[in-house]
C-alpha cells in the first residue's frame, strides 16, 4: 500500500515538472480569444489603405507620390511586419531548440525545431513573394491567400510528421545514426518545401482561394484547421504522454492559437488585409512564440536540474570528505585507545600474576607474604579504578543532560570539601559571576578532577588552590590554579592523553584518565581547556565553558 502511494506521488511530482505553468495556458487562451472579443465590441483590426488617383498623382512631386504609395500599401506593410515577426520567432525557436539539444540531448527539440524552421522558411517565402521581392507569376489576389494556405498546411503537416517520426522511431543508442536519419528527413522535407515554393512562384494560374460570400470564406484553410485540431487534441497529447517534457506540453498549447488562426481565416477573412486577415497573422506569431516559451521554460528547468545536481554532488562530496576525515580520525583514536587500554589494563593483571607466583614460592616466609598480599590488593584496586574510569570516560557526551542553575562559589567550595584536602590546604575563589545554566554532572566532574589533581599532585603539605572565575560573552572562564610543583612545558599536551601519568603509578596512584576525562567533557559541551604551567610556578588549568549548554555537541 505504502509503496503504491509513494510511486503515485513521485509520478505526479514528475508530471508537475514537465508542464508549462498553468497561468501560461490561461494567458495563451486569453490572447487567442482577445481579438475575437474585441471585434465583438466593435474594434476593427483591418488595414484601411488610403487610395489615390494615379492620374492626379502624375502631377505630384516625387516625394508626395512615394508617400501616397506607402499609404496605399499600409495593408501590405502590416502583413509583411506580422509575417516577418512570425518568421523571426520561428528562427529564434530553432536556435534555442538546437541549443537545448546540445544541453539536454533530447531529440524532440531538434526535430520540432527543424519542422518549425522549414515552416518559417515557407512563411518567409510567402512574405517575400507577396512583397514582390521574389519574382512570382501569379497576381497577389491569388498568390497571398494560396501560398498562405499552402504554408499553413505545410506547417501543420511537418509538425505532425516530426512528432510522428519521434513516436515511430525510438531514438537509437547510436548518436550518429540518429543524426543521420534526422538529416535525411530534414533534407526530404526541405526538398518538398522548395518544390512547393517553386510551383507557387512559376505558376501563373493559381486556384481561387477566397469566396467572400460563403460561410467558409477561405476553404483551403479548413485543411490546416482540421490538422491543427487533430494535432492539438489527439497526436500531441499522446506524444506528451509517451515522452513528457515542457516543450511537448507547450506544443499542445501552441495548437490553440494555431486553430484560432485558421478559424479567423477560414470563416472570417474575405479580402486581403482585412480584419480577420490581420488577426490571423498576429496570432500566427503567437503560435511560434508559444513553443519558444516552452523551450525557454524547459531550458530553465534543465539548467536548474543540472545546477541542483552539481550542487548536491558538491555538498555530498564535501560531506563525504568530512566524514572520511572524521572516520579516519575516529579510527586512529580508537586504535590508539585500544592499544593504550590493552597495555595499561594488562599491567596490573600481570602484577597480580607475578604476586600469585611469589606467594606460592614464598609460602613459608610470612614476612614476604605480608609484603606480597597488600601489593596484590593494591593491583586489584588499581585495575578496578582503571575499568571504572574507562567506562566513565567512554560515556562522556553520550546522553543529553538537563541544565541547572549553578552558583560557582557554592559549588567550588562543595567540590573542594568533597576532595577531602589535607588540613594545610585552602580554597580561594576570585572574581564573581552570576549564576549560570549548565548541566551540573559534567561540570562538577571536571571541577572535581581539576581540584583533586591540584591537591593530589601537590609536593608539600600546604597549598592554596585558587579558583578564578570570569564571565566573557557566551563563555565562562574558569581557572583552577595551584601552587604545586608545576608541569614542564613538554608534558602540556601529554597530560590530556588517556592513561598518561607523569609519575609511576606505584608512586602516585592514578588511572591517568582524569585530565583526559576533563578534556573530553569540556570539548563535548563545546568548550576548550589548556594548561599554563612551568616547573616551580604552580599550574593553571584554564577552561572556557560554554554557557547554556545542556546538549552534548555532536562529536564530529
Amino acid at each position: 500500500m505504502s509503496n503504491g502511494h509513494t510511486s503515485t506521488q513521485i509520478h505526479s511530482h514528475s508530471r508537475e515538472t514537465h508542464r508549462m505553468p498553468p497561468y501560461f495556458l490561461y494567458l495563451v487562451i486569453g490572447i487567442s480569444i482577445a481579438p475575437f472579443l474585441l471585434s465583438q465590441v466593435g474594434m476593427n483590426f483591418g488595414s484601411t489603405p488610403v487610395k489615390f488617383d494615379l492620374i492626379d498623382a502624375s502631377q505630384w512631386p516625387a516625394h508626395q507620390q512615394l508617400d501616397a504609395f506607402f499609404y496605399r500599401l499600409s495593408g501590405a506593410f502590416t502583413h509583411t511586419l506580422l509575417e516577418w515577426t512570425a518568421f523571426c520567432a520561428a528562427i529564434f525557436t530553432v536556435c534555442l531548440a538546437l541549443n537545448h539539444y546540445v544541453m539536454s540531448k533530447d531529440y524532440t527539440t531538434p526535430v520540432i525545431g527543424a519542422a518549425l524552421f522549414l515552416a518559417g522558411c515557407m512563411d518567409g517565402f510567402h512574405t517575400l513573394a507577396a512583397d514582390r521581392l521574389i519574382e512570382a507569376a501569379a497576381d497577389n489576389r491569388n498568390l497571398i491567400p494560396f501560398t498562405w494556405a499552402i504554408c499553413r498546411i505545410f506547417n501543420a503537416l511537418i509538425l505532425i510528421g516530426g512528432v510522428s517520426l519521434l513516436l515511430l522511431r525510438a531514438p537509437d543508442q547510436n548518436n550518429k545514426a540518429n543524426i543521420r536519419s534526422l538529416l535525411v528527413a530534414f533534407v526530404f522535407a526541405a526538398v518538398v518545401a522548395y518544390s512547393i515554393i517553386h510551383y507557387c512562384a512559376v505558376s501563373d494560374s493559381l486556384p481561387q482561394t477566397q469566396y467572400p460570400n460563403s460561410l467558409i470564406t477561405r476553404p483551403y484553410d479548413v485543411i490546416p484547421l482540421i490538422l491543427f485540431t487533430f494535432a492539438g487534441l489527439v497526436l500531441f497529447p499522446y506524444f506528451y504522454k509517451r515522452r513528457p517534457s515542457v516543450f511537448a506540453h507547450a506544443l499542445i498549447i501552441a495548437m490553440i492559437p494555431e486553430a484560432v488562426v485558421e478559424l479567423h481565416m477560414a470563416f472570417g477573412s474575405s479580402a486581403l488585409f482585412d480584419h480577420h486577415f490581420n488577426i490571423a497573422h498576429f496570432l500566427k506569431i503567437f503560435a511560434y512564440v508559444v513553443p519558444f516559451c516552452g523551450l525557454l521554460v524547459d531550458y530553465i528547468h534543465t539548467y536548474r536540474a543540472k545546477e541542483q545536481e552539481a550542487n548536491d554532488r558538491e555538498i555530498a562530496e564535501v560531506a563525504l570528505k568530512r566524514y572520511t576525515l572524521e572516520l579516519k580520525r575516529s579510527n586512529d583514536e580508537l586504535d590508539k585507545f585500544a592499544h593504550i587500554a590493552s597495555h595499561d589494563l594488562k599491567a596490573p593483571l600481570r602484577g597480580i600474576d607475578h604476586l600469585a607466583t611469589w606467594i606460592e614460592e614464598d609460602k613459608r616466609d610470612p614476612e614476604a607474604l605480608n609484603e606480597h598480599i597488600p601489593k596484590m590488593h593494591q593491583r586489584i584496586r588499581r585495575m578496578e579504578k582503571l575499568l571504572d574510569d574507562l567506562l566513565h570516560y567512554s560515556s562522556v557526551g553520550k546522553k543529553p543532560l538537563s541544565s541547572t542553575s549553578i552558583n560557582i562559589h557554592d559549588l567550588g567550595q562543595q567540590v573542594f570539601e568533597l576532595c577531602t584536602p589535607p588540613p594545610g590546604f585552602t580554597l580561594e575563589i576570585k572574581g564573581s559571576i552570576d549564576n549560570f545554566e549548565t548541566a551540573l554532572a559534567p561540570f562538577e566532574t571536571a571541577l572535581r578532577n581539576l581540584i583533586g589533581n591540584a591537591i593530589k599532585h601537590h609536593d608539600t603539605h600546604q597549598g592554596t588552590i585558587t579558583l578564578h572565575v570570569k564571565d566573557s560573552d557566551n563563555y565562562i572562564e574558569i581557572i583552577v590554579e595551584d601552587d604545586g610543583p608545576g608541569i614542564a612545558k613538554e608534558y602540556h599536551e601529554k597530560v590530556f592523553e588517556v592513561f598518561q601519568t607523569l609519575k609511576p603509578r606505584d608512586i602516585v596512584e592514578g588511572s591517568g584518565i582524569g585530565l583526559a576525562l576533563v578534556k573530553k567533557i569540556v570539548n563535548s559541551q563545546g568548550g576548550t581547556i589548556r594548561v599554563d604551567s612551568s616547573i616551580g610556578n604552580g599550574t593553571k588549568m584554564i577552561i572556557s565553558w560554554l554557557k547554556n549548554s545542556s546538549q552534548p555537541v555532536e562529536s564530529l
Partner: protein
C-alpha cells in the same frame, strides 16, 4: 668474554615495581651477581647513563631492558633520544613490554633494538628473559 660478563650491568627501565621486582627475583634465582640498576622512566634512565641530576654515571658495558609504556618519557621516546646521543647511540637495548602491537615492534626495531620481547608471552616471572640476557652477554661483546 667472561670478564665482560662479570663487568656488565643490567639497566632496567621499568615503571612498574612488581615487574622490576620480578626481574630482580629471576636474577637471584639464577644466582647472577651482575650489577642491577633500575630507572622508573626514560628520563631517569638517561640521567643515570649520562650521570646527570645528581646521579652517578653508569659505566659501560651495560645492557638495557626497556619497557615501552612509562610516564614522562616512554620507551620509544627514550630510544629516539638514545640514538641521537653520540655517546650513547651504540647502547644494546632489549625491549620488554606488554605491547604486542605491530607498530610498536616496528618502531622499536627501527631504532635498532637487539630484541623485542612481549611480557605475556613469557612464563615463570621473566626467568627465560634473564637466562637470555645471561647467555647474551656471555657470548656477545658489548660496546665499551
Amino acid at each position: 668474554m667472561t670478564t665482560a660478563r662479570k663487568e656488565a650491568t643490567l639497566l632496567i627501565v621499568e615503571d612498574d615495581d612488581i615487574d622490576a621486582m620480578a626481574i630482580e627475583r629471576s636474577f637471584k634465582k639464577l644466582k647472577l651477581d651482575n650489577n642491577l640498576v633500575r630507572a622508573k622512566d626514560g628520563i631517569e634512565a638517561l640521567e643515570i647513563m649520562r650521570g646527570e641530576n645528581g646521579k652517578t654515571k653508569l659505566e659501560k658495558p651495560y645492557l638495557i631492558l626497556l619497557d615501552l609504556n612509562m610516564p614522562r618519557m616512554n620507551g620509544l621516546e627514550f630510544l629516539a633520544a638514545l640514538r641521537e646521543d653520540p655517546e650513547l647511540s651504540d647502547t644494546v637495548v632489549i625491549v620488554l613490554t606488554t605491547s604486542a602491537a605491530d607498530q610498536d615492534q616496528t618502531k622499536a626495531y627501527d631504532q635498532h633494538v637487539a630484541g623485542y620481547i612481549v611480557k605475556t608471552e613469557i612464563k615463570d616471572s621473566f626467568l627465560e628473559v634473564i637466562e637470555l640476557v645471561d647467555c647474551y652477554w656471555k657470548i656477545v661483546t658489548l660496546p665499551a
